[in-house]
Symmetry: C2
DNA sequence: ACCTGAACACCGTTCAAGT
DNA sequence: ACCTGAACACCGTTCAAGT
């Protein structure tokens, strides 16, 4: 048990990130206050300011950690289907949707502009780019296999990400008509979305 | 000047919605407090409660009004290009992106889950469905013209909306790599996105 | 019916003080 | 260096009271 490094409880910074994620899952975006997070971590309400400049900085850290986990899950799936490009694409998309549904409020924090000046957080930017690179490499495998149109893999990656991300956002926001959700399973819907950009 | 209906200033409800939209554009989602909105409308901080159950209800009204305006702009464009399906699709998408960029924070409020229990606001649901029907009708014209694949127009509308909405969200969130944004104009990017789901 | 002003619980942030 | 507790300005919501 490698814990306690200093006198109090060692790694408050990460404890706050963890507590933040939990409160986010419980109480939603609007219910996540810095004071609640501090209390959950067992410190005073001003203790977080020893580790984060302000609430935005904690949110940045939570988002960055989210991107890291998203990358881990997506890249594991991508490796697993390395030799089957079309499966790789579908399974990665499915993983993305599941990630969104697993913790909708964290996903919203990561992608809905709760973080206001993302450029001020270089780790956030780096993790986000890492994910885009992963999508790009999946897209390139699919282009090489003749499953996706050729052309700029940057732009194709944007299309692939966009169509799945758009689906995820509409899903979380309850904007997808019930009739459609009843018609097909979520999995089938994701596959249908992707088929739209795939070659016959 | 058809104003003042009652003793004070007539239509506080709509004045609050208008004030809310303005504050949203100025101070962003996190800066829009009910008290500021009330002050801007020239009433006490508790006056809004005569017209809205709570802050969520005001947000619902702002979102609903946003959907109404989006519908107006989109349907005007759709009618203008009635006889040219492919132009109709591209121009409608472009209008959607412009709507998002015109007032990013209102767009985020409409689509980013700031509104927590959207089903409790029937007008919101109705306006949202009206917009989906419009997208569906544009999609159907394009299917008839052989520009989009045939098949369920509900699912195709979801794809078309999804790819543009996803692009809009990534754009607003600053998730689109700079290299890509420098490569092509926004308009070209939107056209590229749509081309992905169009038949060669 | 619509609006005000005081009140309450809660929030983000700062700062002097403690270890 | 890291944390506490008091303090401040601000917030959403309620409620008795006024018109």
């Amino acid at each position: 048990m490698p814990k306690k490094r200093t006198y109090h409880h060692g790694d408050l910074k990460n404890a706050l990130i963890k507590a933040g994620v939990e409160i986010l899952a419980q109480d939603g975006v609007s219910g996540m206050s810095l004071r609640k997070v501090a209390m959950k971590a067992g410190v005073s309400h001003s203790a977080p300011y020893s580790h984060f400049a302000d609430k935005q900085a904690l949110i940045a850290a939570i988002s960055t950690e989210g991107f890291r986990q998203l990358y881990e899950r997506m890249s594991a799936v991508a490796e697993g289907y390395n030799s089957q490009p079309s499966k790789q694409l579908v399974e990665a998309a499915w993983t993305y949707i599941q990630f969104a549904l697993d913790d909708p409020d964290r996903f919203k924090v990561m992608f809905s502009g709760v973080l206001e000046k993302e450029k001020e957080y270089p780790e956030f930017v780096a993790e986000s780019q890492r994910n885009f690179q992963l999508v790009k490499s999946i897209v390139e495998s699919n282009q090489a296999a003749g499953i996706l149109r050729s052309g700029s893999s940057d732009l194709m990656a944007l299309s692939a990400w966009g169509i799945i991300h758009g689906f995820a956002m509409l899903l979380l926001e309850g904007q997808i008509p019930h009739a459609i959700l009843e018609l097909k399973s979520l999995r089938k819907l994701v596959e249908f979305q992707l088929k739209q950009i795939m070659l016959a």
